[in-house]
Amino acid sequence: MTSAEAASRPVSEVLGVPPAARTVRDRSFVLLLATLTSVALIVLAVLLVDTAIDGLPQLSLSFLTSFPSAFPAKAGIESAITGTLWLMGVVTFVIVPLGVASALYLEEFADGSRWWNRIIEVNIQNLAAVPSIVYGILGLAYIVRGPLSLGRTVLAGGLTLALVVLPVVIITSREALRAVPPSIKEGALALGATRWQAIWRQILPASIPGIATGVILSISRAIGETAPLILVGAATFVAFNPTGLDSPFTALPLQIFSWISQPDDQFRLLAAAAIIVLLVLLVLLNAVAIRLRNRHQQRW
């Protein structure tokens, strides 16, 4: 039959399948997909609700401003919060210059045909997928001990975490730089700017929102990393705020991990409360990043 004839017959006849069955199968398929999609989300919801039920009653100003203690009633997360903030400071100071500079090099200066540049590119992709605990081993061997011998200090912990997220910062910064249309750069060059002037005055400023978003998201990833800190971090009982880069520290994920390991149910509840604080921190950071992204989404 010609296609015209085929088109005029009921589709089900052409395909030889009764229409009713097809509809049932179609409908159940949609249902299946919707169910599969919701399972992961339901688990997330249960997780959040369970944590909230356990942890919310423990949240109080004194919880936020007390230090870890042998008594669950007195224990708090002040040292964990300040430790986390210090670590994030170190991470930011490392990944912003290093990550943006690497991204700039790869996007603007690197000749893609040279073998060393290709190696760098492949490298970064691989580094982004290395398990974070391997970075912990690296940190233990080279940063805490070995050549840098920083000991179990804030600086060592921050550097190790920076290593974990640096590849991600490089990749997102590259994408932010790439998103700036070449016409901007060409216009600058046509007006007599040097390559660096064009980058520094036009491309970089235009890509800052994208870069900042990437940096913020990387920091939020680093905040939740526990495994590297287990190998690189300090003692289980740190009841003071870090006094400097060379100070021992604890951090929110470390404190959560330590409290989870206690069989006393009271500490489990405290762990839940600390988890809530951690999640709130993450949501705040992500909200800032998303707002940045949305506000500065340029339409070129």
Binding site: A129, L138, I260
Partner: protein, 318 residues
């Protein structure tokens, strides 16, 4: 770069920066060198990882008089006891079992979610679902570990399902790791499915196919390399996952295949041993490196495979 010189020529001889041509060139060169150094640090880091892991692993083999074959195939992992055994098989087995269970969970959930997002969801539903998936991806793994130990094992496995599991068991660990990697699998798979040209779909619709048939018979096969890339990437993440298994799956290196009891993965061994602050040069320290090296190799291989698949599906449509 060609554009630069063209633009500069077009600008004419009067277009000079304040500093004059010679200094400008040196300054630019210096900047380029600095930037190259920054990018090269990534190579330095990788080299550092490989050297430290490989180096200590060699020391490990030399020191402990362990042969590579007995390391890889030996069935007893008791490195810290008085008569130490260094067969890594129990650890690898633990990792594989957890990853296997995780994939059983994540593959249907991930592909199903991707298919739903890509083929069925309205823009409004998508705008609600995608951030929620990102939220799931952003939850720290220690939180999942907490959930596995304090809720999933007692209330779901033991309570709801009435299973006879130990307090630390591989099943809970595997299932929760599976949920954890769903966003990874889903986002790569969804990317691949969205990249399938609309013309393919329209062709099928034109022949009278239903949306289901289009999804199952057209889109999924067309996006298969991307979907595979997502699965392999998810597997790689599951292999490298530490906190969930450290908290909830147990610390017993065993060759038992029963996931209802405790087991130990490679990552859990590193985490548990490293927590005790092993001194440099001790057996525990060297064992960490040997296992870490094995872990690094496995994830490297999985990642390379995944990247290959991504390249393949990107190539077809670009």
């Amino acid at each position: 770069m060609a554009t630069d010189s063209v633009a500069r020529d077009a600008a004419g001889p009067n277009a000079e920066s304040v500093f004059g041509p010679a200094r400008r060139r040196i300054g630019e060169k210096a900047i380029a060198v600095v930037l190259f150094a920054a990018a090269a640090t990534s190579v330095v880091i990788t080299v550092g990882i490989v050297i430290s892991l490989a180096g200590e692993t060699l020391t490990f083999f030399a020191d402990k008089a362990v042969s590579v074959s007995s390391f890889m195939t030996g069935a007893q992992w008791t490195p810290l006891f008085s008569d130490p055994q260094f067969g890594i098989r129990p650890l690898v087995q633990g990792t594989l079992i957890i990853t296997g269970i995780a994939l059983v969970v994540a593959v249907p959930l991930g592909i199903g979610t991707a298919a739903f997002l890509s083929e069925y969801a309205s823009p409004r539903v998508r705008s609600a679902l995608k951030p929620t998936l990102e939220l799931l991806a952003g939850v720290p793994t220690v939180v999942f570990g907490y959930f596995a130990l304090t809720f999933f094992t007692p209330s779901i496995l033991k309570g709801l399902l009435g299973m006879d599991v130990s307090v630390f068991n591989g099943l809970a660990g595997g299932i929760i790791v599976g949920v954890l990697i769903v966003p990874t699998v889903a986002s790569v798979a969804e990317d691949a499915m969205s990249a399938v040209p609309q013309s393919l779909r329209e062709g099928a619709y034109g022949l009278g196919a239903s949306r289901r048939q289009v999804t199952v018979r057209v889109v999924v096969p067309a996006a298969l390399s991307g979907i595979t890339a997502g699965i392999v990437l998810g597997a790689s993440r599951a292999v490298g996952e530490t906190m969930v298994v450290l908290i909830a799956a147990g610390q017993v290196p065993t060759t038992s295949l029963d996931p209802r009891g405790p087991m130990q993965t490679m990552t859990a061994f590193i985490g548990a041993t490293g927590k005790g602050d092993v001194p440099t040069g001790s057996t525990g320290y060297e064992a960490i490196f040997a296992v870490g090296f094995a872990l690094f190799l496995i994830t490297l291989i999985l990642n390379t495979i995944s990247i290959r698949f991504v390249r393949r599906y990107r190539q077809v449509y670009e």
